[in-house]
């Protein structure tokens, strides 16, 4: 079987993740999710307290970017890059050293 190099698989996965977070996310449903819907229906959504931090990308929107498509897409792309760097970096620190078995 034709063996696809890891480089291509990684690049493909990264492009898909960036497109999903940067472009497709604009078309996601904005209805409350399962937990929030149940909280509304069962009368405990008002127990929610505000988030502690003044998060820079709160609500998956970049501050000071007015265009919603651009703002949401930018937030998504930043999120993908930050998660990739943190999780990838953590995996590299934790991994077994030496050549792959």
């Amino acid at each position: 079987m034709r063996r696809v190099s890891f480089r291509w698989v990684a690049l493909g996965a990264l492009v898909v993740a960036l497109l999903l977070a940067g472009v497709v996310s604009h078309y996601a449903s904005s209805e409350p999710d399962g937990l929030n819907r149940v909280a509304q229906d069962h009368g405990f959504s008002q127990t929610e307290k505000d988030h502690e931090a003044d998060a820079p990308l709160a609500g998956y929107a970049a501050k000071d970017v007015d265009n919603p498509r651009l703002s949401g897409g930018l937030a998504g792309v930043v999120g993908v890059v930050v998660v990739l760097a943190l999780a990838g970096g953590l995996a590299f620190v934790v991994r077994r050293r030496g050549p792959a078995s």
Binding site: R3, V4, F6, V9, A10, A13, L14, V16, A17, A21, V24, S25, A28, S29, S30, E31, P32, D33, G34, L35, R37, V38, A39, D41, H42, G43, F44, T47, E48, K49, D50, H51, E52, A53, A55, P56, L57, A58, G59, Y60, A75, G76, G79, V80, V81, V83, L84, A85, L86, A87, G88, L90, A91, V94, R95, R96, G98, P99, A100, S101
Partner: protein
């Protein structure tokens, strides 16, 4: 299913926080066995994919949406310990940068959407892999079915936590029915996304899928055994 601040009381949030620290600590030790130079980059990609896909809320019923949780998907792709690390990074970033899920609720969210979906998803996947024919082509199906069950399982754990420290007085039976009901629907979407993602990797490089590797090794061993017999 991100739990905001305030749904659970402080003692319960502290308890889930402590439990999450223990689980992530165990995962740091356990992931060492799963990660090497070749698989470490996969962990970053899987976490990034889970983050991206969690942004994609799909409609499940009138006025309700759901999104992938991803613990089963990550466990099948990179192994259960590494999966928990990936999921924890996703929830940490979502909480700090995106205000999605409270910071005091971070432990709760790691236990609910990380530990629960990884453990339930992985155990069910391993069970299905043992019961069904040992073929790599069945791995996406097994992963999808395991993922489907992991979502209502997480919903049940939320009900359990709410029983321990919910801040509103409500019928737990009704809460359980509502939570499991809507999350069973969300589980169908979870199954579809998990199936597609695992199938894409299995199609091009099954050796990169942690959950498919025992099936590949088995096949190689069979070939070698035959070859040895032939030369003997």
């Amino acid at each position: 299913m991100h739990v905001p601040n305030g749904f659970l009381d402080a003692p319960t949030s502290m308890a889930t926080g402590a439990a999450a620290v223990v689980c992530v600590g165990a995962a740091l030790a356990g992931a060492r066995r799963e990660l090497d130079d070749r698989t470490a980059p996969m962990a970053g990609l899987v976490a990034a994919f889970v983050f991206a896909t969690q942004m994609l809320n799909f409609p499940v019923a009138a006025g309700t949406s759901g999104h992938l949780l991803g613990g089963a998907l990550a466990a099948v792709l990179v192994g259960p310990w590494t999966a928990l690390l990936c999921m924890s990074v996703v929830f940490l970033v979502q909480s700090l940068l995106f205000a999605d899920g409270g910071i005091t609720a971070l432990g709760t969210n790691i236990i609910l959407m990380g530990v629960t979906t990884v453990v339930v998803g992985w155990l069910l996947f391993v069970l299905l892999r043992a019961l069904l024919p040992k073929r790599p082509s069945l791995v996406p199906l097994e992963a999808g079915l395991a993922a489907m069950v992991s979502v209502p399982a997480a919903a049940l754990v939320f009900v359990g936590l709410y029983a321990a420290g919910g801040t509103a007085d409500l019928s737990l039976g009704e809460l359980a029915v509502a939570m499991v009901g809507v999350h069973t629907l969300i589980g169908i979407g979870e199954a579809a996304i998990t199936f597609l993602a695992v199938a894409s990797i299995v199609a091009v490089r099954p050796d990169l899928v942690y959950g498919a590797r025992p099936l590949l090794a088995r096949r190689e061993l069979e070939i070698r055994a035959t070859a040895t017999e032939a030369t003997a």
